[in-house]
């Protein structure tokens, strides 16, 4: 594990601990105003990928 990864691991642990401590605290989120768009890009099927005759 690199130094950076170790730091990242510690950071993750810290975050987890913090999460445990704060899990029960209320969260203020103005859900009406937040932009929760999820843009997904469906991989379009190319004609070459559906050609089961030639390949």
């Amino acid at each position: 594990m690199t130094e950076r990864e170790r730091e990242r691991g510690d950071e993750t642990k810290d975050r987890a601990n913090t999460a445990d401590e704060t899990r029960k605290e209320p969260v203020r989120l103005d859900l009406e105003k937040l932009d929760l768009t999820v843009r997904e890009v469906e991989d379009r099927i190319r004609p070459g990928e559906t050609n089961v005759f030639d390949k």
Partner: protein
């Protein structure tokens, strides 16, 4: 008695072909040579060898390093718009900034799944594995940008229809992965072996550049080795290839049409140091007199098919194919007894005439292959089984208790595929048949000279389906004069019969130089366009007096495919991967799963993937990765998926080259403006990417911190519409594999503060 000779022959199938099962040509040639006294023949599937090496941890780790160096995401600073020419680069850089890390380990695990006789049939494990393999190939491609390697294709930034570019590609180690691959792996083996002949089977356009790359390396390292090549694709362009300046650096000769006779004669001539002009069907470079010229010999008669020995698969690495069991190809006949379809070019590829083996010989060979290899799974190679054979072969297989499972192509023959005929086929082991349906428009069927009606085709399909055989239809969009309304009627016909037809192999129509549509365009109301600067041109654009234009047909392909993906269970969501991997769906059928059971399982899986189970909580994937990117990935990908963008670099399995496509794409698709976006990806959960706004990332972090959706709902106290929005957001992320429906536990998000840097 035929004497054994110390004459070494190496037969190579160059990349790229599909990686799930071996191809047939080289085992046929090896068997013919060995039967005729050339024992020292080795057969190498260089394609599956390349896939196996590329999809391995050491290679992918190297690719990760190359991508970090060659395609850093932070070269896109977000201050200026991205012109069309750089959009692909941005897309790949953005994807790999999240996906590359750890790809090697995931791919190693994936290979174990697809090769395992039990894990392969666990659909969830299989889908995850295939997703990892595709992701691995995207990383390989990124490391050789702009080349793209998929299980179905290999394209480069070089135009395949210009010999100068094709030859340049064979020297470009930066974007052609096979230069390094051959140098490190295959070439040292060949140099150690010192074959007298290297014979390459080039049946697809995707093999051209890799094949010529190998030819060049071998000719440099082994000047005494005669490098020849044959195969379907070279039957199309071989003559042009041999006329191209500089091609003699990669090849010594080309064999046209089937290779048994010419290759044997070539070996004899070289062994006896005779002139090449006596080898039938060979075009070769005469280097005498200080200049190089191509000499075209007279054609040789093809062999009598019943004399051809059992294909010899010895030496092929069965364990390297990406399947738990190998499905062996076997040719029951060559050519087509119908031979009239106006779009078809098979006589060019295979050679004129139709020849078949007897049912007795076929079953003799099948049983011998079963004994030799231990597999009872076959892909019978036939362009169309003649009506007599449709009865004779099943009867022979049943009478001799062959106990095999097989799939093959078929032509609609209503009398042969009646209810009892179909049942007999099933009883003999047939589990899947693929028919050339083409279109539901009788007018077009007549123009195609198919000699069949949609009603007869459907009747045949129903008989097969009722017998338990899975039916696939080949369908075509954009045959000259087809209108959009007719194409939509065909799509509707397929949708209406989704309980009879399990799969559709959909193609766009294209014109190549050997089809009747090219030679008699007036019969089809079209004008052929040519590009004089493309000396290897095979496919042509055309204008049409009526019906859809080529561009409209390309869009209609997307529309039809969308309709099919919404209806056919095996096309829904990632189930499509079953269809795309040659023989993988068949392996389920061969194991005893019925087409109905398979369809039901696909539908259930698609529904489960679309929405989480009602009684579950949703948690953030353990390996969720996030990057802030300076342009919209979704917008970029949408533009690159447009037909005109795709036409810039067409592939030889589709074949449509569009004159001026790059200029038109630049004009029509414009630039990508700066836009702060968040790209999200969970490589262990799904191969897909999603784009969020900063708000979405904030909520995602809260989801992670809370430990799951239920806890966050409780802590926000959200109710009514607000609650619905949050739940919908979470469900969207679930559908994309970013959240999982599992027991609650904390997860880490690897955040990126700057483009391209995960922290």
């Amino acid at each position: 008695m035929i004497s054994k000779r110390p004459f070494k022959v190496s037969l190579v199938f160059p990349p790229q072909g599909h990686f799930t099962q071996p191809y047939l040509a080289l085992p046929c040639l090896a068997a013919w040579l060995r039967t005729n006294g050339y024992d020292d023949v080795e057969v190498i599937d260089a394609s599956v060898e390349a896939y196996d090496r590329f999809l391995g941890a050491p290679y992918l780790e190297r690719c990760e390093e190359i991508v970090a160096r060659r395609l850093p995401l932070d070269e896109f600073d977000g201050r200026t718009a991205i012109p069309f020419e750089r959009m692909e680069r941005f897309r790949v850089a953005a994807e790999q900034s999240l996906a590359a890390r750890g790809a090697g380990d995931r791919v190693e695990a994936a290979k174990r799944v697809v090769r395992d006789p039990e894990a392969f049939f666990d659909r969830d494990a299989y889908m995850s594995a295939m997703g990892s393999l595709y992701a691995g190939l995207r990383l390989v491609s990124a490391a050789h940008f702009p080349s793209v390697l998929t299980p179905h294709n290999f394209t480069t930034g070089y135009a395949n229809d210009r010999s100068s570019e094709v030859l340049a590609a064979t020297l470009d180690a930066e974007t052609n992965p096979f230069v390094e691959h051959f140098r490190e792996t295959l070439l040292p083996r060949l140099v150690a072996r010192r074959p007298r002949v290297l014979g390459m089977s080039i049946i697809y356009g995707s093999q051209l550049i890799p094949g010529l790359t190998l030819g060049r390396l071998v000719k440099e390292a082994l000047p005494d080795c005669h490098v020849t090549a044959g195969g379907g694709f070279l039957a199309y362009i071989g003559k042009k290839l041999m006329a191209a300046p500089g091609m003699d650096a990669c090849l010594d000769s080309i064999v046209f049409h089937e290779g048994e006779g010419p290759l044997l004669e070539l070996c004899r001539v070289l062994e006896q140091d005779r002139d090449l002009d006596g080898v039938g069907s060979l075009t070769w470079f005469d280097r005498s007199g200080g200049r190089v010229r191509a000499v075209e010999n007279a054609p040789m008669h093809p062999i009598k098919l019943d004399d051809a020995p059992v294909p010899d698969f010895d030496g092929l690495p069965f364990e390297k194919y990406f399947s738990p069991r190998v499905v062996l190809p076997y040719d029951i006949n060559r050519g087509c007894y119908w031979g009239a379809c106006t779009f078809c070019t098979l006589p060019t590829v295979i050679g004129p005439g139709f020849r078949t083996r007897s049912a007795t010989t076929i079953v003799d060979h099948v049983l011998e292959l079963k004994e030799r290899t231990g597999t009872n799974l076959f892909n019978f190679i036939t362009d169309c089984m003649p009506p007599g054979m449709i009865a004779d072969l099943p009867n022979e297989l049943i009478a001799r208790d062959a106990d095999v499972r097989y799939w093959c192509d078929a032509r609609v023959e209503p009398k042969a595929y009646d209810a009892s005929g179909a049942r007999r086929l099933f009883e003999s082991g047939c589990r899947k048949l693929l028919f050339g349906f083409e279109t539901a428009t009788p007018r077009l069927l007549k123009l195609m000279k198919k000699g069949q009606s949609p009603r007869a085709t459907l009747e045949v399909a129903k008989n097969c389906t009722d017998a338990g055989i899975s039916v696939t239809f080949y369908a075509m969009v954009g045959f000259p004069t087809e209108t959009a309304e007719e194409a939509r009627d065909t799509a509707q016909f397929l949708v209406d019969n989704a309980d009879v037809v399990r799969e559709v192999s959909l193609q766009t129509f294209h014109i190549d130089e050997v089809a009747r549509t090219y030679h008699h365009p007036e019969e089809f109301g079209i004008d052929i366009l040519s590009d004089e600067s493309a000396d290897l041109q095979l496919y042509h654009d055309y204008t049409t007096e009526r019906g859809m234009t080529q561009a409209e047909a390309a869009r209609m392909f997307d529309e039809t495919m969308a309709a099919l993906r919404g209806t056919f269970p095996v096309f829904m969501g990632d189930n499509f991967l079953f269809f795309m991997q040659k023989s993988h769906y068949f392996l389920h059928l061969a194991r005893g799963t019925t087409p109905d059971e398979f369809a039901a399982a696909c539908r259930e899986r698609a529904e489960r993937e679309a929405a989480p189970p009602e009684d579950s909580d949703l948690v953030v994937d353990d390996d969720l990765r996030v990057a802030r990117i300076p342009h919209s990935y979704a917008e970029c990908t949408e533009r690159l998926a447009s037909p005109i963008a795709r036409a810039i670099r067409p592939d030889f399995t589709v074949g449509r080259f569009v004159a001026g496509a790059a200029e038109r794409a630049r004009a029509e698709l414009g630039e990508l403006a700066p836009s702060e976006c968040v790209l999200v990806h969970a490589p262990g959960g799904s191969p897909r990417f999603a784009e969020l706004h900063e708000d979405g990332l904030t909520v995602l972090q809260h989801l992670r911190d809370a430990g799951g959706l239920d806890a966050l709902l409780e802590r926000t106290g959200a109710a009514g519409a607000a609650r619905e929005r949050l739940v919908r957001f979470a469900h969207d992320l679930y559908r994309l594999g970013l959240l999982r429906a599992v027991a609650r536990r904390s997860a880490s998000i690897h955040m990126t503060d700057r483009p391209g840097r995960t922290t």
